[in-house]
Amino acid sequence: MYAFDIERPATVAEAVAALSNEDAQALGGGQTLIPTLKQRLASPEKLVSLTGVAEMKGISSAGGVLTIGGGTTHDDVAADGSYKALSELAANIGDPAVRSRGTIGGSIANNDPSACYPAAALGSGATIVTNEREIAADDYFVGMFETALDEGEIITAVKFPIPEKANYQKFVQPASRFALVGVFVAKTADGVRVAVTGASNEGVHRWTAAEEALSKDFSAGALDGLTVSADDLIADLHGSAEYRAHLVAVMTKRAVAAAS
């Protein structure tokens, strides 16, 4: 680890001010950033810890929308339960230590191509709330580790419209236990959304053909015969692109069957 300064702002405004320094970086739960620092793969001059920002914490529900503060831990989301599929997803991220520190804002800001929350946000049609604006999930996830966030912009909350039915199926990469392929399916009055994580070099994305089929008939059988192209899917020592393409279909069916 290289030496760095740390600031602990108490409000979003203070945090934003502290992050205006070009070499400053936000620190959420540190579950991604701290290991990166330990390996000397990043060298921010200053870390701005968001853990003391009270207004970024907590979960509230109004008008069928669940609003989760950007600094809310995976554990707190897991315990909430008002959006079952989302709480189940949070409960299966990493291990107890990761869940007690890691935050939804950190996860969505990082946009790891194998992370779980991006699938939930995109699959639910969530809105990412920052200190500056609100961004629809469809516009937010740009690519692997790439998002619509500007330099110094922080995620203060994520708003999830609670669907009629939803489920997340994660086929774990056996070492990291991130998603080798994860599929989030949500059924709403407006139709069905299917978001896929872990599979693509483009990062989290929607499987529109499946959405169309499921919007007509929300059953696993509706997906029979539907396949995903292996082009541009991730291939690594844990699975080929073809295997991932196959798993996308299997996990989608399982998510539909398990949706509640």
Binding site: R40, F171, P174, A175, L237, H238, G239, Y243, H246
Partner: protein
Amino acid sequence: MPKDGGIGASTVRREDVRFLTGTGQYCDDMNMFGQTSAVFARSTVANGVIKSIDTSAAEAMPGVLAVFTGEDFVEVGGNPAGWLINSRDGEPMKEPKRPVLAHGKVRHVGDAYAAVIAETIEQAKDAVEAIEADIEELPALVNMKDALAADHYVHDEIGTNQCFDWGWIEDNRAATDAAIKGAHHVTTLELVNNRLVPNAMEPRCSMAQYNRANDEYVLHTTSQNPHLTRLLISAFVLGIPENKLTVIAPDVGGGFGSKIYHYGEEALVLAAAKKIGRPVKWTADRTEAFLTDAHGRDHVTKIELAMDKDGNFLAFRTETMANVGAYLSNFSTATPTFLHGTLMAGNYTVPNVYVNVKAVFTNTAPVDAYRGAGRPEATFSLERVIDKAAREIGMDPIELRRKNFIKPDQYPFASAAGLEYDSGNYDALMDQMEKVADVAGFEARRKASEKKGKLRGFGVNAYIEACGIAPSNLVGVLGSRVGLYDAATVRVNATGNLSVMVGAHSHGQGHETAFPQVVAEMLGIDPQSIDIVHGDTSKIPFGMGTYGSRSLAVCGSAVVRATEKIINKAKKIAAHMLEASDGDIELKDGVFSVAGTDKSVTFGEVALKAYIPHEFPLEDIEPGLEETAFYDPANFTYPSGAYCCEVEVDPETGKVTVESMTAVDDFGNVINPMIVTGQVHGGLGQGIGQALLENTTYDENGQLLSASYMDYVMPRADDLPFYTVDHSQGNACTHNPLGVKGCGEAGAIGSPPTVVNAVIDALQSGGKSVTHIDMPMTPHRVWSAMQNA
């Protein structure tokens, strides 16, 4: 049995109190006044020529005390291979020098070519980044087949990438070939025994101190055998006389083989401590552990099994390529040869065995003994090909094995691979396994799995291994450069408590509990009054350390011999005290008495007398009560077992779950059943890890893709089933005083083929014609095999 547990008691491990309460003292816990930090500059390419190394900027960095490169060590010796192997044509193996720091060339990713000593570890890391090394990358030799065919070499000076081409037993070759040629049925299988990273919980750490006043060194290091480390440093590498070098291996957090060996980092910190006159510590981070700890396994094998029309085994013939990596690690040449080829007759009366092993240099981390060391490779090849053969001839795999088992009345049995098995009863093990695993109920369980959409498979395996290594005379003939005896000193202190100095090193094996049980049983005293001292060359007489499941069989035997000497002397002292002749003295429950009388003295009274020798027959008996014994075993010991497991395969994803695992082992006599069970549990976890999870992968450039826990799959609790472990069927070893065989590696030897056999069974039950899948059987591999079948 003495109170609180002698032989046979499941005494709770006393060392766990400190391990579980954070009060263990590991190398990195120890800090010395004035201590400095060493950090290594390591190659990022697998193969490259070192054109130049400019350390001037690094030397000028804050806190930097010294910078070393390979140039500084050209005068010192190489780290040797402990076993000289001759090729089939009689040529000795190729043994290129393994330097302290790479010189001229770097040969694998992680190969250290420079080291910085600085006041703090961060300063040392900063300075390492400032070293300017001009290393010209060369094409990497990764795959063994390619390396054998290549016209460029890992070590240019030897002009080949083949270390040796070994035949065992060369004289049996023609007969084996003939048996295969004339056989009714020959089953052939090509398989890979996958490379594993040992992943001890504690990474390696070495700290050196140098005392100018008397030219003495102390090395604290993570070692399974501090005397062997001292011997290698003294006799081969730095030439520091043994009387000037103390090696201490304190609490060590697991080794599994990887901490047997002497590594360059140990020599570096010693040289650095002398140069700067201050203690120098190096602690590996996890990445260094992945890149530089000696890896395990990595064989590619073709095996053939010839049978007559009734399924009687006629011959096994194997051709193996064994990866030794970039340098020969200390046991690397013994592991694929004498620890592997000699086991290739298995538990069977097969008359012909021939084994050919080509050891190959590649631009990868060195490969050496890892839990099981050669015997898992032997068992895997045998038990996989036997399973395949059973399917080919339509015979039940248990029946085929039983048909060819050595029978209990055939011991001692001279195996066709050159060993003499002393005792065993493989049918009894199989009977017990069938019983405790409820093999008869399998079909019902298979139906239940099928109802859930899963394929269920049953796999079985019988193994024999050779441990308690080893008779020095025998291994000397076979090329070993060391003897493999062990030593113990039993020191009875004046007030009757005991310190037992043992050459075996305990780093998870429970010696601190089990060895006192043996001494307590012999003396009839409380085991809590006995402590084990190990891991310090200045305190213990000598020792070859802990590996090859040898601690109890070899060092435990030395403890027995030394304790017998104690008893003999104590009887003389008691006889004097009781005014009797020593032939009439009996020892029972810690009391010496004169046979047929009520005259007695306690063990404690005798001890006190030995140290306060008033009215003592000094002309006949020396004062004191301390005895040393060296024990050299007469033979290997031969644990054996029958294992089975049941797996479920998810046909949609290829994911395998192990539903049950049964291990029935013959370990001979058992000193502490709970410790033995724990050792089997650990071995099973590692074996299942090898079979399903652990996927060491180098890409074609020699980059280790699985160099962290993000990609290397260590088995976790939820990957493993609850085990059924049974060691009720022991047949005592006939040639050591305790009748013990060794249990540390069995689980890792017996489980991999069991799991693979079960997966193949599951897939075939689902109508797939899959006959083999290489380990680790990841979901992707299983799914792919199903697509192609």
